[in-house]
């Protein structure tokens, strides 16, 4: 049985990016595609070739810049590579992270008083979208709440096992001496009123039943305290009770645990003929900073490429870090580089970026997605066993 050489295997993994088109997009590692070769699923081979690689995340800076209510030891923005996996599987993980990993979000809002100008239904919608966080081990133990349908015999009730109750009670009033200031022409609301802006930090959790014991752990609260919920003027008031339940993103986007979970393929830049001198500088400018660097033309190069004779010691362009490339194809727009460079991507190298909304860590989310895919397969298998019994 013929076995492809390692170089051939590498070549097959490359997807080509031309000036206006792409080629070799689809994977070919199926039995029957390459005559005589064995491409049967092989777990041992997969164990040997599959790799996970984490990347130093400059993105944690982004997390640090946000004003949030979370310890800095959390990992809310991770970048990692899955290498040696097919797109269909990788995409399943991505889709599950976005739509099927359960989170806690406000679902029912009971409005006792709302004299602000924001309508009840708009206010309720805004509240639903606020990301919540709290002690993760206890949120994990939360059970599902199934919304009762009309006329249901045994409807699920909201209990301390499946429901988190939050309250919001804010009244806007004049500040002491505010009226006089207003008469004098002062317009700054901070000078005139108290509670004129309602923020996510004003939500407070009311533990129910057994949840009293959770209080020793982290409180359930909004991830970002500065989210503006409503604005008010003296005499206006908002009093409401909220029920937060466990749900999934497929049902409503507010339950999605990630702000982005995406992947891209690792870019490759192959320099086919040397690019030297002033051209090297121009070439490097075609890419984001850090992708292309410079080296000196060596005697070995002059032996290999006849056009370099006499140019020993000049600068030449070399690829330093293709991961930073965006594959803008700028270099292909210049006639002098067109035949000297080939762009592509590695079809089985997925650079994942998982940004969490704050309830779960990015690594927990990925592991959850793997677990959930397995559960999906397990359930189908169970049903199939019953069917063929």
């Amino acid at each position: 049985m013929p076995v492809p050489t390692p170089e051939e295997v590498e070549r097959r993994k490359k997807l080509q990016v031309w000036e206006e088109t792409v080629s070799d997009q689809a994977s070919t590692d199926f039995p029957g595609h390459w005559p005589g070769e064995n491409h049967e699923w092989n777990l041992e081979h997969f164990k040997k070739t599959f790799r996970v690689q984490f990347h130093p995340d400059g993105n944690d800076l982004l997390f640090a810049k946000q004003h949030h209510d979370l310890p800095t030891t959390r990992h809310l923005d991770l970048v990692f590579s899955l290498i040696g996996l097919d797109a269909s599987i990788t995409n399943a993980f991505r889709r599950i992270m976005i739509a099927e990993v359960p989170t806690l979000a406000i679902e029912d809002v009971f409005i006792y008083q709302n004299t602000s100008i924001i309508q009840d239904e708009v206010l309720a919608h805004r509240l639903g979208l606020i990301p919540l966080c709290g002690d993760r081990s206890t949120i994990k133990t939360l059970e599902w709440y199934i919304k009762p349908t009309e006329g249901e015999a045994n409807p699920t009730e909201a209990t301390d096992k499946n429901c988190i109750m939050l309250h919001l009670q804010v009244k806007c009033e004049w500040k002491k001496g505010g009226l006089e200031k207003a008469a004098k022409g002062e317009t700054d609301p901070d000078e005139l009123y108290v509670n004129h802006s309602v923020y996510a930090r004003d939500l407070f959790w009311t533990p129910l039943g057994e949840q009293e014991e959770w209080k020793t752990a982290e409180m359930i609260r909004a991830v970002h305290p500065d989210i503006l919920i409503a604005k008010m003027r003296p005499g206006q008031e908002i009093v409401l009770r909220m029920h937060a339940y466990k749900g999934i993103g497929q049902d409503h986007a507010k339950f999605s645990p990630v702000s982005t979970a995406s992947y891209r393929l690792l870019p490759v830049i192959d320099i086919l003929r040397p690019i030297v001198g002033a051209d090297a500088k121009k070439f490097a400018r075609c890419f984001p900073p850090g992708v292309v660097g410079y080296d000196k033309v060596t005697s070995e190069d002059t032996r290999k490429y006849p056009e370099l004779v006499g140019k020993e010691g000049e600068t030449k362009a070399v690829v330093v870090d293709p991961m930073k490339d965006t594959v803008s194809r700028e270099c292909l727009r210049h006639a002098e580089f067109k035949d000297k460079v080939k762009l592509g991507r590695i079809r089985d190298h997925f650079i994942f970026r998982v940004e969490s909304t704050g309830q779960w860590d990015s690594d927990e989310l990925f592991l959850q997605s793997v677990k959930l895919l397995k559960i999906k397969a397990q359930r189908i298998k169970r049903g199939l066993d019953e069917l063929t019994k």
Binding site: H39, Q53, D86, S88, G383
Partner: protein, 124 residues
Amino acid sequence: MPEQVEDEVIVDRGEIDEVADRDRIRVLAGATETAASFQFDGEDHTLGNALRYVIMKNPDVEFCGYSIPHPSENKMNLRIQTYDGVNVYTVLEKGLNDLMDICDVVEEKFTVARDEHFADKMQT
């Protein structure tokens, strides 16, 4: 009379219910030992494409494809045709097993890489 469409999102609520699991799978008309179309309730591209890939990796399989017949129906169809004499059920079962194996390997390798990464970060 069209059959009743179940619109709600099907979520795994942790409990095991074989009967409900069985009712989510149908074998469509015209099935033989070596060629059959299955219909799964509450599944989409997530499982469809992943399962299609692992089943296509099986050399006994002549054809495997999946489709979502209608975007507003929560259903996924999977077609399997095998080479002579191989039972489609065994092929589907092997596909599911292989998919679960992949999940185990990914989970294990991810955990190891993550722990190393976090340990490195703590040191610096």
